[in-house]
């Protein structure tokens, strides 16, 4: 390996610009003649839209235009789409209500887009928005997930019981039979609390129309600019695909929330033609809370059936998933194929049946948030496994061991076929690191200090790199989930890699360069990674679901194979040797058994000057592309163990120790992987201890709409996480990698809640385990 190759702890290439204030985020960009947009948003959760009087706003200083849903309709601009068709149990297609970019007829959540004011300055746009008079006829609202199907409010006219779909997976009769003969049944009612993703950079967009070329440019905070372009052109119909350039420059975090195509950027692109000037919109944190897609929000009843030895025979799960007021871009697949397919966890469970009701409510749309379905599944599985072990008097680590999948490939009853893993290895290592054997001593010590100590396990599995495309297509996906790459070798041997993946904190400019460095034997300084611009990169599916390593890098690897193959041909001609005698190692082409050698850069130059080979057989130049469609998901897994101390006087939970042993397959850059695990755990702990999106059940008002009310985890919420890794290579990609981006967020919540319930001796309590919730749980258990 080169010093900057695979496995090296290389400091990141992208850091220079970020630590010096030279990042280039969307709001940092300003275009000549730029105007500013501000959205008039619904103050009501559910209302009939009456007359919108824009006269006063139009006359306000600096105002360029005020546009409403009527203007959208007049221009024939379509609504936002949901790109994954789910069919109900009875075979009927899901009920998808309209999703206009500016409200039409009704508003359906607080924050829904009613009108846009475009003005010379942001302050003028904001001030004029106050002058837009909207008459609303307020309707009854529903915000409650569990109550959505029986609510008075009908979010979309004609969609009965607010039911998007009633979907199921697994064999219900077989599961019921297993329950009938079970030695022990454990049941739990679980709420997976609703979260706001809260990437630190709020969403922003600049739409610009160029009348000279009849084309548009959109700068946007996107995790997948090509998909944004495809949706805006093919479905919303704003411009032909080749007349729309989408640029996602530096993006300040995404966590899923920037996958989706939202009203704001769509309006900016559309309206830029109407006003004949670029339009910039920069969201505030208040707007982020109101209108960025939220995550989670499941209400579940779960039951596990065990035999007398504690072997799980069956799992039965009934979940209601809140979709919010509209189906966001990938919302429908999250509580179905990204959730119920993971309900087998790390365990060999013969039968699983899950039924999911997806419901509309008068709340912000809910879609993928870090982990997307897999944290919800892991929460169900790991909470019920821990509870079952306690009820049956079996040590929870031992209970897990008895049920682990041990032979691979392993076909679960819920579609997934696990390809590789060693779950016992990560559990054993984690137990050793946390000194599980001496927990009782620590518990006694805490007790002497007046604290209640608990320990909680989470042996999670996730599925990354959704694939193959044909399979996801058969499950309802509107897109393929491959990735593309192009490797352009310059005449000097420097390399430019164009990737369809998008980096918004993941460090691709470093890790992808490490792969090139490793393969071509050149330092990473000679490698440039290009992403996030539809005019540069031909097409790509973007970054989410921990797919960029396993899918995106594999595409680069395949392109590098082709580059190497062609370079060998060139080298064989220049060195006048048979191609079969050419060897390539550490950046040098040599002829077997001779001292002839050419550096990679020399071969690149030879390919471009094209003096030494017949160009009728070998084309000049050195540039290759590849598309990679994986054969299967990858299956990262691991064991996280959390130890907490609870103060019974105050209900305050302190995490006193955390160990994580993850199996991500081979690791490209340990610094970056560890950073992903830290960040993931922090978000998972946030869900378990501090974060909660709360809507008033009656009015549908968001009560947690700022950092004053939505408790973001801070540095002093965490101990120093202790990390280690086990490795089983992924067999379906040449790099043997699995993905690491979501693991922490998936593993953490049940680890925390298992520890808290263990500490205070209750079977169940809701997330987040705030001091008040813990105190109430303690009181009710007395």
């Amino acid at each position: 390996m080169t010093s900057t190759g695979i496995g090296a702890r290389v400091p990141r290439k992208e850091d220079q610009r970020f630590i010096t204030g030279n990042g280039n985020y969307t709001d940092d960009i300003n275009l000549p003649k730029q105007t500013y947009a501000y959205f008039v948003r619904s103050p009501h959760a559910h209302a009939k839209l009456g007359r919108i009087n824009t006269k006063a706003a139009e006359a306000a200083p600096g105002v360029v235009a005020v546009l409403t849903g009527k203007d959208v309709e007049k221009d024939g601009v379509g609504g936002l789409i949901c790109g994954w068709m789910i069919h109900s149990k009875d075979g009927s297609p899901m009920n998808a209500g309209p999703h206009p970019i500016l409200a039409h007829g009704k508003v359906r959540y607080v924050g829904d887009h009613v009108a846009v004011v475009v003005a010379e300055t942001q302050a003028q746009a904001k001030a004029a928005a106050e002058l837009v008079e909207v008459s609303y006829k307020v309707l009854p609202a529903v915000a409650d997930t569990a109550g959505a199907t029986s609510a008075k409010a009908e979010v979309h006219d004609g969609i009965a019981n607010n039911l998007v779909y009633n979907w199921s997976i697994g064999e219900e009769d077989a599961v019921n039979a297993a329950f009938d003969s079970a030695a022990h049944v454990t049941s739990l009612d679980l709420v997976n609390n609703r979260l706001a993703p809260n990437a630190m950079e709020p969403r922003a967009a600049i739409g610009a129309f160029d009348p000279g070329t009849d084309s548009y440019t959109l700068y946007t905070t996107s995790q997948n600019p090509h998909v944004a372009r495809l949706v805006l052109s093919a479905f919303i119909g704003i411009a032909p695909e080749h007349k729309l350039r989408v640029i996602a420059p530096d993006v300040g975090g995404g966590f899923g929330s920037k996958i989706f195509i939202y009203a704001e950027e769509t309006v900016c692109v559309w309206a830029s033609r109407k006003v004949g000037r670029p339009i910039k919109w920069t969201g505030g944190r208040d707007e982020a809370f109101l209108a960025d897609a939220h995550g989670r929000d499941h209400v579940t009843t779960a039951e596990a059936a065990m035999d007398a030895d504690g072997k799980i025979q069956a799992l039965r799960v009934k979940t209601t998933a809140n979709m919010g007021a509209y189906l966001s871009t990938f919302a429908s697949c999250v509580p179905t194929y990204l959730y119920a397919t993971l309900l087998s966890g790390q365990y060999a469970i013969p039968q699983i049946y899950a039924e999911v009701d997806a419901v509309y409510t008068n709340t912000a749309p809910v879609d993928a948030y870090r982990g997307a379905g897999r944290p919800e599944a892991t929460y169900v599985v790991e909470r019920i496994v821990e509870t079952a072990a306690r009820e049956m008097g079996i040590d929870p680590a031992e209970f897990r061991s008895r049920n682990f999948v041990r032979e691979f490939p392993h076909q679960t009853p819920v579609i997934m076929c696990y390809d590789a893993g060693d779950y016992q290895a990560s559990l054993d290592k984690a137990c050793e690191m946390i000194k599980y054997g001496s927990f009782e001593n620590r518990r006694k010590k805490s007790q002497k200090a007046g604290k209640m100590r608990g320990i909680g396990f989470s042996t999670y599995i996730e599925a990354c790199g959704i694939a193959p495309s044909a399979a996801v297509g058969s499950l309802g996906a509107g897109v393929g989930l491959w990735e593309s790459a192009e490797v352009r070798v310059k005449p000097t041997g420097n390399v430019e890699v164009l990737t369809g993946s998008h980096s918004h904190g993941q460090g691709h400019e470093t890790t992808f360069a490490q792969l090139v460095s490793d393969r071509l034997g050149i330092p990473i300084d000679q490698v440039e990674i290009v992403h996030g611009d539809t005019d540069k990169v031909q097409f790509g599916m973007g970054t989410y679901g921990s797919r960029s390593g396993a899918v995106g890098m594999t595409a680069i690897s395949k392109a590098l194979d082709k580059v190497e193959a062609k370079a060998r041909k060139v080298a064989s001609h220049v060195m006048e040797a048979a191609e079969g005698d050419i060897e390539f190692k550490d950046g040098s082409f040599t002829v077997k058994g001779t001292d002839k050698a050419m550096a990679f850069g020399e071969v690149a130059l030879a390919a471009y000057v094209a003096h030494s080979f017949p160009t009728t057989e070998i084309e000049p130049g050195l540039k290759e592309g590849a598309f990679h469609d994986p054969a299967n998901f990858t299956f990262p897994a691991g064991c996280h163990v959390c130890e907490v101390e609870v103060d019974p006087e105050t209900g305050v939970v302190e995490i006193v120790d955390w160990v994580a042993v993850d199996d991500f397959g081979n690791i490209i850059n340990p610094n970056i992987v560890e950073g992903q695990v830290h960040g993931g755990i922090a978000q998972g702990v946030g869900q378990a201890l501090t974060e909660n999106c709360v809507y008033d059940a009656e009015s549908g008002q968001l009560l947690s709409g700022s950092y004053m009310d939505y408790c973001m985890p801070r540095a002093d919420n965490f101990p120093t996480f202790r990390l280690d890794f086990t490795i089983t290579e992924c067999p379906t990609n040449p790099l043997g990698i699995k993905g690491c981006g979501e693991a922490g967020a998936i593993a953490a919540p049940p680890a925390v809640m298992n520890a808290v319930t263990h500490a205070i001796g209750v079977k169940n309590m809701p997330m987040p385990a705030t001091p008040m919730n813990v105190w109430n749980a303690l009181k009710s258990s007395v």
């Binding site: 990141r12 850091d15 610009r17 630590i19 204030g21 990437a199 630190m200 505030g284 960040g679 965490f718």
Partner: protein, 153 residues
């Protein structure tokens, strides 16, 4: 509109601003220095931290006119020919991911050393970061970076 003049990163700057213009707006829009970020609207996240007369302040909650005559340092002004030890420490210890909170974190970290000295415990660092939110790193490598950067200041 009132006139304001101040020294930003060693340069004399000024102009007329609206009374309501915030320091961060002045820096980003008037001066075109976009390293200072806005991540919230309630003075919680700390992405906007700059130094005014040597003290860390949240520029999203400071009026530009209140800084008339002040010496302001932003993230663009901390490297002096070469990177500031705190910048270098953030890179070496992978103390950033998406980079959005980073300028505020580095400015807060430098202030932390100025206030508490070069030997900082994890506990002090974590406590002092109460005004800075990071969503990517879980803070672990930020704490590591600040500890290491402090020693080299």
């Amino acid at each position: 509109m009132p006139d304001v003049s101040m020294v930003v990163n060693g340069q004399n700057v000024g102009g007329s601003v609206e009374g309501r213009t915030l320091l961060v707006e002045f820096i980003r829009e008037k001066l075109g220095m976009t390293g200072t970020h806005v991540g919230c609207d309630t003075s919680q996240c700390g992405a906007c931290v700059v130094h005014v007369d040597g003290k860390a302040v949240k520029s999203c909650t400071t009026l530009a006119v209140a800084c008339d005559g002040a010496k302001v340092t932003t993230i663009e002004g901390v490297a002096n020919g070469k990177l500031h030890p705190m910048q270098e420490a953030f890179r070496q210890h992978h103390g950033l991911q998406c980079g959005f909170c980073t300028p505020g974190m580095i400015m807060a970290a430098i202030d932390m050393v100025n206030t508490h000295g070069k030997k900082l415990s994890d506990e002090t660092i974590r406590h002092e970061l109460e005004g800075n939110i990071c969503r990517c790193t879980g803070y672990q490598n930020i704490v590591k970076a600040i500890k290491a950067g402090a020693k080299k200041m």
